[in-house]
């Protein structure tokens, strides 16, 4: 049988990432994930959504797909914006930020990577797809 999936199309408006997190919470409960796992997924999802909203320069609509697998939840956050080169993004360090001129921002990708079990970026001039996965321990 085909694995069930949930799809969202969100407009680029303040706080619309909360639709994604609320959806993730309903799905996490359906999958019997722990509260901690659910919260980690929500946090990673917020960061992927606000990146798509803020940086992609997409005209409108961010797409989010949730794939409910037997042993994992796979989430794709898709924008049709300008894309970016992940290898050029520096790993943030608070020591380089506090008391220095460096911009205090730049934590989103780092958080996604720390909170999810695997993360992949596909990005080019037509947009970005972030695919992130949380494994389920049975």
């Amino acid at each position: 049988m085909k694995q069930p999936s949930v799809e969202l199309r969100l407009p680029i408006l303040p706080n619309m990432e909360l639709i994604a997190t609320q959806t993730a919470e309903v799905i996490s409960r359906h999958m019997n994930l722990t509260d901690d796992q659910g919260a980690e997924i929500s946090m990673a999802l917020i960061e992927a959504c606000i990146n798509a909203f803020e940086h992609s320069k997409a005209e409108n609509n961010v797409f989010i797909n949730f794939l409910i697998e037997d042993d994992s939840l796979v989430i794709k956050v898709i924008d049709q914006g300008i894309g970016f080169d992940k290898t050029k993004v520096e790993i943030p360090k608070i020591e380089n930020k506090i008391g220095k001129d460096e911009r205090k921002r730049g934590w989103g990708l780092q958080l996604i990577q720390e909170l999810m079990d695997s993360v992949e970026f596909e990005s080019n001039g037509e947009g970005t797809t972030v695919t992130m996965k949380k494994n389920i321990k049975h």
Partner: protein
């Protein structure tokens, strides 16, 4: 007061800010505006009671990093208590816990800060 800040009080000359809801750019700016006002009045110690904040984003938390930086200039301090596990984890990943403190309760926070 903003929707995000639900109470402000002083205990032992520490300014205690109680928050509610999503710590995003708007919530972060509400806190920084308040802290900078209080710093202008001479306060240097701050605590945030985050019991009502179950969800944050990195933009909101990076505003706390700005506050930490400003407080360093006056030898000030900021701490937090009643953190949801995911908020504590986020503060750890971002390294806030190297420059500011997480406490269990208000009492502990006021004693330890």
């Amino acid at each position: 007061m903003s929707d995000f800040i639900t109470n402000v009080k002083e205990n032992n000359s520490i300014v205690i800010i109680e928050t509610n809801g999503y710590l995003n750019n708007v919530g972060g700016e509400a806190v920084s505006t308040l802290v900078y006002e209080k710093m202008a009045q001479g306060n240097t110690k701050f605590l945030i009671n985050m019991a009502g904040t179950k969800i944050v984003n990195s933009i909101g938390v990076s505003i706390l990093i700005e506050i930490i930086e400003k407080l360093q200039e006056v030898n000030g301090k900021i701490g937090y208590y009643n953190l949801a596990p995911i908020v504590a984890k986020t503060f750890n990943i971002m390294g806030l816990t190297k420059y500011s403190t997480v406490h269990e309760t208000e009492e502990a926070a006021v004693n330890e800060l």
